[in-house]
């Protein structure tokens, strides 16, 4: 990344600028790949861009940053995404 030598305050883009936001999550989206019809509604509506669109239009979920809002599960017409309670890691 090009750094600019200027007097004013500049922030530079970084993935996870607020840390690993996946820790905010209470419910976790679980994708059932067999049910998915590749409509990509979850991808376009995800507010965090944590639903990753693959080359063949299948999707995968970035659990490191997913905040668990549940919009993807709610907009899925075939109910391929379900929300499950997060279990505490020991």
């Amino acid at each position: 990344m090009k750094k600019y030598n200027v007097v004013t305050t500049i922030s530079y883009p970084k993935k996870g600028a607020m840390g690993k936001t996946g820790s905010w999550r209470i419910f976790k989206p679980i994708l059932d790949k067999a049910k998915c019809v590749k409509c990509l509604r979850c991808w376009i509506y995800c507010p965090e861009a944590t639903i990753i669109r693959n080359k063949d239009d299948t999707v995968s979920i970035d659990y490191e940053y997913c905040k668990g809002c549940g919009i993807c599960a709610n907009v899925c017409k075939v109910k391929a995404i379900t929300m499950e309670r997060e279990v505490k890691k020991k």
């Binding site: 922030s11 861009a49 599960a73």
Partner: protein, 301 residues
């Protein structure tokens, strides 16, 4: 245009400071998909100024300038003038402000920029409150809604910013909603291709501000359009066309759903239903919406 055809460009990086279920980042993702990376954004004080996250990092992968609350359009005018001087006229300048920074505090700068025919896109994401500062009333808050400064419900109706903008007779203005990504994308693509000032307003249902569960953001936007509380339209050189469901409502091909269907899911209207139903105020909201649609039909059909 289907969802599959939208480009992969991603300028909102994961791990931002937005609330879960935020409509602003949802809208921003589609905005950047339409405008591409050759864009400079000007952001006044609003939720987006927080979503950018903390120095020395930012979640937006494009140049962003933060500016005072009232100065979004003025700042964008300056950026546009500087780019014009340097001969970089293919860069899109976007002012992205909330409804407080558009309806109330920023209207003077916005009106000035539109009058000067500045070549930029002004986007207002309208969540009908000052959410960033903790849910205060704004000019866009609808009648009867609770905010921390209108306890017991707002007693005035919201103003029609779209019609104020139309009075400037700019080349392009539009109203859209985050729940309709294709509509939003098409309108931005169209705005990008037009020279001169463009104004786009995006309905953005805010989960903490409106008091509804965070997974319902998309549903609330859809309901706002289907009940007629929000209209999807675009105005091109003073010619107004309605889009999608709003067009069907305007032409009376479908009956709009009662506003009650939309507001009963929102905690900010809870006092209209509990402990008993406030029929008088619900009727007032319904009548006001009917008046709005009658006006649309009279002027634009």
């Amino acid at each position: 245009m289907a969802i599959k055809d939208l480009p992969d460009t991603e300028c909102v990086l994961p791990g931002s400071a937005a609330c879960p279920g935020c409509p602003a980042t949802m809208g921003l993702r589609i905005v950047f998909k339409a405008l591409g990376k050759n864009t400079i954004m000007v952001v006044p004080a609003c939720c987006t100024a927080v979503i950018e996250s903390l120095h020395p990092h930012t979640s937006f992968d494009i140049p962003v300038m933060n500016i005072a609350f009232e100065a979004a359009a003025a700042g964008a005018s300056g950026v546009e003038a500087a780019l014009r001087q340097q001969g970089k006229e293919d860069t899109t300048v976007v002012a992205w402000a909330g409804d407080g920074g558009t309806y109330d505090i920023g209207i003077q700068a916005l009106s000035g920029a539109l009058e000067r025919q500045t070549n930029f896109i002004y986007i207002c994401y309208n969540n009908q409150i000052y959410s960033n500062t903790g849910i205060q009333r704004s000019g866009a808050t609808p009648y009867g809604a609770w905010t921390t400064t209108t306890v017991g419900g707002k007693t005035e109706f919201r103003k029609e910013m779209g019609e104020i903008i139309q009075a400037h007779h700019i080349p392009y203005s539009a109203q859209t909603c985050v729940s309709y990504p294709e509509d939003l994308y098409n309108k931005l693509k169209k705005a990008k291709g037009i020279k001169g000032p463009k104004y786009i307003e995006i309905m953005a249902p805010c989960p903490p501000g409106w008091r509804f569960p965070m997974e319902k953001t998309v549903e609330m936007g859809t309901m706002a359009v289907e009940t007629g509380a929000w209209a999807l339209y675009e105005v091109e050189n003073d010619k107004m066309t309605f889009n999608g469901k709003s067009k069907l409502i305007l032409e009376k091909k479908i009956e709009r759903k009662p506003i009650e269907e939309w507001i009963k899911y929102q905690g900010r209207f809870r006092h209209l239903f509990k402990p008993e139903k406030d029929v008088k105020r619900l009727k007032a909201i319904e009548e006001h919406t009917d008046q709005m649609w009658d006006r649309y039909r009279r002027c634009y059909l």
